[in-house]
Symmetry: C2
Subunit: 712 residues, 2 copies
Amino acid sequence: MCIKIRPFFCGLILGLLSLYTLATPADFSGEDGYRLWLKYDELDNTKLKKAYIKQLSGVYLDASSATGKVIKQELELALPALLGKPLTFNTKADNASLRIQLNQSPSALISGDGFSIQSQGKHLNITANTQVGLLYGTFHFLRLVQTEQSLAKLDITQSPKIQLRMLNHWDDLDRHTERGFAGESIFDWHKLPDYKEQRYYDYARANASIGINGIVPINVNSNALILSPAYLQKVQALADVFRPYGIKVYLSIKFSSPQQLDGLATSDPLDKQVQQWWQNKTAEIYKLIPDFGGFLVKANSEGQPGPGDYGRTHADGANMLAKALKPFGGNVLWRAFVYAHDSEHERSLQAYTEFVPLDGQFEDNVSVQVKNGPIDFQPREPFSPLFGAMPQTSLAMEFQVTQEYLGFSTHLAYLGTMYKEVLDADTHVKGTGSSVAKVIDGSLEGHSLSVMAGVANIGADRNWTGHIFGQANWYVLGRLAWDHELSAEQIAHEWVAMTLTHDVKSSEQIVAMMMASRENIVNYMTPLGLHHLMDTGHHYGPGPWVDNLGRADWNPTYYHRADDFGIGLDRTSKGTNGVSQYAPYWQEIFSDPAKTPDELLLWFHHLPWDYKMRSGQTLWQELVAHYYTGAAAAEQMQQDWLTLKNNIEPNQFNQVRMALAIQVKEAKWWRDACVLYFQSYSKMPLPMGFEKPKHSLEYYQSLKFPYAPGQG
Amino acid sequence: MCIKIRPFFCGLILGLLSLYTLATPADFSGEDGYRLWLKYDELDNTKLKKAYIKQLSGVYLDASSATGKVIKQELELALPALLGKPLTFNTKADNASLRIQLNQSPSALISGDGFSIQSQGKHLNITANTQVGLLYGTFHFLRLVQTEQSLAKLDITQSPKIQLRMLNHWDDLDRHTERGFAGESIFDWHKLPDYKEQRYYDYARANASIGINGIVPINVNSNALILSPAYLQKVQALADVFRPYGIKVYLSIKFSSPQQLDGLATSDPLDKQVQQWWQNKTAEIYKLIPDFGGFLVKANSEGQPGPGDYGRTHADGANMLAKALKPFGGNVLWRAFVYAHDSEHERSLQAYTEFVPLDGQFEDNVSVQVKNGPIDFQPREPFSPLFGAMPQTSLAMEFQVTQEYLGFSTHLAYLGTMYKEVLDADTHVKGTGSSVAKVIDGSLEGHSLSVMAGVANIGADRNWTGHIFGQANWYVLGRLAWDHELSAEQIAHEWVAMTLTHDVKSSEQIVAMMMASRENIVNYMTPLGLHHLMDTGHHYGPGPWVDNLGRADWNPTYYHRADDFGIGLDRTSKGTNGVSQYAPYWQEIFSDPAKTPDELLLWFHHLPWDYKMRSGQTLWQELVAHYYTGAAAAEQMQQDWLTLKNNIEPNQFNQVRMALAIQVKEAKWWRDACVLYFQSYSKMPLPMGFEKPKHSLEYYQSLKFPYAPGQG
């Protein structure tokens, strides 16, 4: 074989031949992640299993409704598998140990689709005022079994704290997913309405199990075609699948649809014909989907059409749609994510500037949907100043579940801690205790319409979210929308027990990894309040040097303002005055570097490189230390995971192992690229003890990734 | 709830409420299709299972090589599952009933990666000259068990008839798949090289099980980036996964890569620097991938760069690459799919015109890859006249597995019959018996390099091919590349037994459906030799009226030539003279409508609407009858499938059921649109007894599908 080959390659090939025979084929056993947290593997705790079997000798359930059928099907799927024993259904309630029944008359202890799970002698009763409440109660009951909780003396009563608990998919009609990192959209519009993927049902089950009751299947950068008769039939098919699971479908709409679909001369919301068009279209939708949820609207933002095109306000636009929806019980979710390139205001101020003057003008079936922070889903932002600033308006929370700025689907970032940080933040608008959560759930100002939405991280990847731990972010979004008083740690424990392992020591270790994970990423990407340092377009990897984009406020340099003097964006009254949009309590804190928490320091202040930090170190030293701490934490996480090999199913273990290797590599890339770039301004040496970056700044600046996923 | 609602909608909503409670949730049980034909469910034939258990009491295998490990892993996966009994491995061959061993010295009865399976007393011996031969023998052995064949007195010896058995993926670096209808590409380039999907291994297993030994993971419309160092690392990772399975990676290349990647002034294949560039690049690839397969090239076709840009021939281009690859044992697959808008020749003649004069000029590690027909994967074409016309050149067969023109992934079309029709076609270039198969396998002219490639229908859909029956097309491609003398029916039986059911009556019925399925589609899309009638761009649905595209030869009207006189493209000497490219035997037949087979009549002839067919009917009557027969056959297939409900696993049954509903709908759409359109020329009435089209021609012409999948 080597005769014709040049000697060098001949030796090389022989060398490699001996090497590559050592390659190990994949391990086929183990969990591929498709089942999410609804795994239902037989419990290994024999004692507890015996107790469960005794307590669950028979089930009584009225399965005549579609939701009843879903409950029955879930029990048939779960209990025999968990307990290793066939399931018996009793035709009479008296004989059954587990009884799932609607309340005879509505219970006042429960609101909406809440439920009770109560022990009564030998019986366990799941009750609710609605069929969907029974479904939620059933899933909660199954969670108790999955997480190996005692079923003795139960007295649980829960009602959702937030009314609309939603997933927003930024999915296009061609199945491209904007900011999607787990494969293309799960919604196969071409094959709908006739072909209903099994995946749609499993998606519905997963959502119902965590209380999600609304989904928007298409991108906020919408497409008028979604409202065409052919596509509405497809939407109807999805709604039919989701209905028994208590899930309503909403649609992102294009504000210019009247012109694009039916050739109207205008889409001015004050135009009578336009108003009539929306009324007709809405009626057409409700004919097909009697429980249609409503419209989600991105208007006059990043090039999308909107009422501003006609000199009208967001309220004018939202109210036109709200009036069309009101007769049918639908809602409008009007997004506050707006910023204009010609605005006199710095970007973080613009949503407040545009929306606060409209407070009181929105119809009561409109909720203004606000991203958690004033910029755009950065690893850390302060809470948006809109929360608390529009007391007469229902404000919806928009979290991002997909990790656009948090490492795509290869970085382990548990977002429960981030969501909680925002929800627990105290706006102080009505004194201490005016938390963001209370703004959102309506309790602070007495709104009945309450909404929490997550931008989905779901794609056609077999494990749904690319990274197994991405599943935890879908899970925690639903759980917190149901009850924002749950702790991130408690939810992480639930998820780990259902998804990965019941082993106590392993669980503790995994939960600890999760709890620290988001802060690790903040550290190696954007520590100390830095933000928007990512590369252009795809947002993959570091690009703090980018300064040449079409709009100033798309450039990282707009946000970090690094120069020979120092770094950070001055948002005090001497700067862009972003602080002025917060309650006086926060104005005082955010205006003073000495009072501003370290983690938001450079969000609010431009400080010299030798600024003395609380720790006694200079700003430069501390900045660098954060970058190195973050990258080191990623390495530690990788080490910790490897110790779990024998306690995690091989397929899950390997998926996470491979992702962590990428995360370690990319954490160092972020660290080195940012440190080298900022060093070009600080002109200060790398503090002692830190490993030198592998490459030059020019090298990092030269990297290009034209096919990184999740292009906007 | 209805108080505020207008009475009409109130009634409607109540009506629908009662309806939608009847919606049935999905059945979660059953096979989702991921396992393909490697299902390994426990055999239900108890008697046979007992016999197998007795015959397979222990296995001896040297699993020290990477391929040996793969064999061991497959046996461990398959046998315990099929037999319901743990597997024993013996450390000594003497004790084992199943012995898998390399021949001590190469057997002359076997060539390449062939194998023997032979009974010897109580032993069953699988032997081969190569590790990969043992893997193929093992998969063949498992197929015997899966299809419930006797293991007694086996005496099987097989060697592949074709050397390179390949899948070509038309997948782009952003995971878009040109002509892909089963989700996006399975190759996640972004996460490579670090993240190796379990799917890659299962893909390799499936390919190895049918003898496929080469894959091209990226589109023939290639991207220079694939040869950049960063991407070559990703390719290396794939090659490392595939190697133990006997699969080599090849790359589609962009002919202008020297300019695009490294800024050379030209990509002229006669330029020394360009030649050196390719030599260096090739060496760089082999450093990473010592068993790299070679290059697949689409040049000077549909806008791709090529040697023609510099006035050089295809041979100049191919030979430059061949010389760079030769020292390493690599091959060039140079595609003959070329046609130019400025050619004086009708499109079907152009590949022949360009390539035949180059016969004898290609290096011996070049194979010219020819699509099966002279146009482009139509439901039916005559065999390409290139087969037999280039005796001094290795010719590779390019079949399309993905159903670009055969109903995407919702029409049931078993392509085994089509592949066989082409392979069995007799070119008559060296007298009777000069089959296309003999051209391809090299036996007709004594070529040692032989290639069969299929354009893959594989995507990220859980069942790989969108339609369960699409799996059969992947399967039959591999099986026929291994042995083109197998019958399509025999292969269908194998596949059904492994994939769907062992029930004899059901199998017979399913195989009958499969065997008729492609002709059904020909009938409702392009009967009697019609071709290229599909709509623009996406090729979804009928568009016989399209006449306004950028190039004449992209328009359906270019091919059907319907006018007031008649229909069909005259390719006789009085027309484009396409017949002249065939052997005299065929020239005589194809030149005379009376001798031309009905199924190719309008391919070769433009005939009046009242032309008298063999059947005695007019051409118009027969054309219409074919369309109606095809659509009726689709309905019959749907009915037949529904009778199988209890013999097919629910998930598989439902997937096919939904697809068949779409197929029936679309078959009628094709029928009605084409009949109405051709009627506008024939001016003849619909023959008696045929159901009137549902809509007007204008309606069908108005349909638009901007987001149909598989855009080119």
